[in-house]
């Protein structure tokens, strides 16, 4: 562990008024979210709500255009930073469908990432190999994947285990998990969720737990990875936020009730307009 990490306290990731477009079409219409170290927040929403756009925009994917708003990590604006700088600042994205990188083993990627972050000690081949092997054991990833090219010839479940292994070793402050449960069987989902959950537990003093933004279509993931907060994203806006119960409610009622943001707000609480229009 480096001195830099030992001294860091609890962190906050703040998304404020985030607006973004793809191909000239506005998808996110002003997203507000605040996430602290050790917290698990779920963002749920129907297809087309902008869930994937949110994850890509947070990480700075070049295909998305930011129209307004801000994303700060402990007050540092991330939107002006290159993707690798956001990662070095402590943000991690586990994409829905991790791409294959032919000819490049996981260890090379992790070593390059650790060295770039000034964590040379952790990048030492023996140290890294031991940690990778330990993590693979815990996550249930076959050792063969540690020497194979990244994500090549891996099943959906294996790819998510590989993501989790990288997350565990890179130990970011915040992780955006985009549909982590897609392609996972029950056992894999449990193993992966357990490892992520363990990362959220604060370590020694000054070692805050991982903050998690779990973007998901289904509740399934949330049975394994218990959220502190659930946000409902519909048509590019957070239309409702609440405790874990909100996920249960969504399971019963679906997203139909949130078809229009105005209706959605009314459905979960007192009518903001005091019944004036009802």
């Amino acid at each position: 562990m480096t001195a830099a990490r030992a001294h860091r306290g609890a962190s906050t990731l703040t998304i404020a008024g985030l607006r973004a477009a793809v191909g000239g079409k506005e998808i996110l219409h002003g997203v507000d979210l605040e996430l602290r170290s050790g917290e698990v927040h779920a963002v749920m929403g129907p297809n087309g709500a902008g869930k994937s756009t949110l994850s890509h925009v947070l990480m700075g994917h070049p295909g998305y255009e930011v129209l307004g708003g801000s994303v700060t990590l402990d007050g540092v604006e991330l939107l002006g930073l290159a993707t690798f700088e956001r990662a070095q600042a402590g943000l991690f994205l586990a994409p829905q469908d991790p791409v294959e990188v032919p000819g490049v083993p996981i260890s090379d990627v992790l070593r390059a990432a650790l060295v770039a972050a000034g964590r040379d000690g952790e990048a030492m081949p023996d140290t890294l190999a031991r940690r990778m092997s330990d993590e693979a054991g815990e996550i249930g990833l076959a050792p063969a994947f540690l020497v194979r090219a990244l994500n090549v010839d891996a099943s959906g479940g294996e790819k998510k285990r590989i993501e989790t292994l990288q997350l565990a070793i890179l130990a970011p402050r915040f992780a955006v998990l985009d549909e982590l449960d897609s392609g996972l069987d029950v056992d894999a989902l449990r193993a992966v969720a357990r490892r992520v959950e363990r990362a959220t537990v604060p370590g020694s003093p000054g070692e805050p737990g991982l903050g998690v933004l779990a973007i998901t279509h289904y509740r399934r993931l949330l049975d394994e990875l218990r959220p502190d907060m659930v946000h409902v994203l519909v048509k590019g806006k957070i239309v409702a936020s609440g405790g874990p119960d909100l996920a249960d409610e969504l399971e019963r009622t679906g997203y139909a009730g949130y078809a229009e943001p105005e209706v959605a707000v009314a459905a979960i609480g007192p009518d903001p307009f005091g019944g004036l229009f009802s």
């Binding site: 990480m59 700075g60 994917h61 070049p62 290159a82 993707t83 690798f84 990662a87 070095q88 991690f92 994205l93 994409p95 991790p98 791409v99 990188v101 032919p102 000819g103 490049v104 090379d108 990627v109 992790l110 390059a112 990432a113 770039a116 972050a117 090219a149 990288q166 890179l170």
Partner: protein
């Protein structure tokens, strides 16, 4: 420059010069024959099918003259040769040629005692069997030029059933520091039935302008197995027009690996003729171009006999204003029943000014065959770069990782492990100092601010 070669501006390549070269009578006679054929040949033109996309119209033979005496030793490239030899490791033989002259031959007694013979023309009283046969189908003005002015030839023979334990290394140095040296290395490899051997060739020059036309002929007897590795690391002033032809007998296996890294204009013709039932050829190549380099690859997979198999994978990357050309033909001759051929060519184009052409061709005269080909030209996948960036890997490091990864599956298949490691390091160094040296070399490939 065009037309018949006896034009006055190529006086340096006249018959008189050819006949003044040393060697045994058969070699002198062979040169004379080639020299006469050359005199009525015309240089190829870019309008010809085999020379489309090439730079042959730029070739000014008048700027070159043959090396007619063995260059002084040590050659200026001896340092590079030493590090290559160290990387190869254990070997069963070493041949060192400079300016096309065979200067040293050293073969392990463990090999010579089994009848393995490696020598230059000085040791050969008679014209070696098969010499010139294998390239006959590809003969053109340039192979005749090489035949007319090649001062020597390396002949490597492995008798039937003999297995050579370690690689035999053949080093070709241009050797001459004279501007405009023309060098014609010629190598013949003959494996008897059931023989097993590995040949490693290195081709190097300094930075002077030179013309290098190497000929390589390979004849594999029934059931023979050959691994051939060729590393082309010529200097940036070199024009290289290389020819490799092999004939593969019944159930014989050839694995050929080419790394084309150097030269200003470097063209390589690779032809394998599967003439015996059940023969196999594996043709692999990596090529890199940056600056103003052109890498020009021409391949022929000739399936003559039934149940023959060939697999070809050529991968290249070009940066700056470099170009690459790949044209490949799978030719299924009538009677090549149940033959199976695959051809893959992939190219990464790393900057806007760089360009790669990829042209696969099929000529199928037999119904009962399998053929597949795949060809791709494009930038580095921006999704791969984004993915690595999400891990915190800076773009220039990510680009290098992806590029090395692109070549790695091929490099891992280089026949000699030491050469694989050497090439991995050479490619990595090029990526660090050459191909990707220019800041923002990849700015056109999809990374947007």
């Amino acid at each position: 420059m065009s037309g018949v070669l006896q034009a006055s501006d190529v006086a340096a390549f006249g018959e008189g010069v050819s006949s003044s070269l040393p060697g045994p009578a058969w070699l002198v006679a062979r040169r004379l024959e080639a020299s006469r054929a050359l005199a009525v040949s015309t240089l190829p033109r870019e309008t010809e099918e085999q020379w489309r996309y090439s730079r042959i119209d730029e070739l000014d033979l008048g700027a070159f003259s043959p090396v007619s005496d063995p260059p002084a030793e040590p050659a200026p490239t001896s340092g590079a040769v030493e590090s290559f030899l160290a990387a190869v490791g254990a070997r069963s033989g070493l041949v060192r040629c400079s300016g096309g002259f065979v200067q040293h031959v050293d073969v392990a007694e463990s090999a010579t005692s089994l009848g393995v013979s490696v020598m230059g023309s000085a040791g050969l009283a008679d014209r070696p069997e098969h010499l010139g046969e294998l390239l006959a189908d590809r003969a053109d003005a340039l192979t005749r030029l090489a035949d007319a002015f090649s001062p020597d030839v390396v002949v490597c023979r492995v008798p039937a059933g003999v297995r050579v334990e370690e690689p035999i290394v053949v080093v070709h140095e241009v050797g001459s520091e004279r501007d405009g040296a023309a060098v014609f290395p010629h190598t013949l490899v003959v494996l008897g039935p059931g023989a097993v051997a590995s040949i490693v060739e290195l081709l190097v020059s300094g930075d002077e302008r030179c013309l290098v036309v190497p000929l390589l002929e390979i004849d594999l007897g029934d059931g023979a197995r050959l691994e051939h590795t060729s590393v082309q690391q010529l200097g940036r002033g070199a024009w290289h027009l290389g020819y490799q032809a092999s004939r593969i007998g019944r159930d014989a296996v050839m694995r050929s690996f080419l790394a084309a890294l150097g030269g200003e204009y470097a063209r390589q013709v690779t032809s394998s003729a599967l003439t015996g039932d059940g023969g196999t050829s594996e043709l692999l190549a990596v090529y890199l171009g940056d600056g103003v380099q052109t890498q020009d690859m021409r391949t022929f997979q000739e399936h003559v006999a039934p149940r023959t198999r060939s697999e070809l994978v050529f991968k290249g990357a070009v940066a700056d204003t470099a170009r690459s050309v790949y044209t490949g033909l799978i030719h299924m001759h009538r009677g090549a029943k149940r033959a199976d051929a695959s051809q893959t060519n992939r190219n990464l184009v790393l900057s806007e000014g760089a360009h790669a052409d990829s042209v696969p061709n099929l000529d199928i005269e037999e119904n009962d065959v399998r053929c597949s080909h795949a060809s791709a030209v494009g930038p580095i996948d921006s999704e791969q770069l984004f993915y690595l960036a999400t891990r915190g890997v800076p773009p220039e490091v990510a680009e290098r990782l992806v590029l090395l990864g692109f070549f790695d599956d091929l490099l891992a298949r280089a026949p000699v492990p030491g050469v694989a490691a050497y090439l991995r390091a050479a490619v990595a160094e090029r990526l660090a100092t050459g191909v990707l040296a220019a800041p923002g070399a990849l700015s056109s490939t999809g990374r947007r601010a």
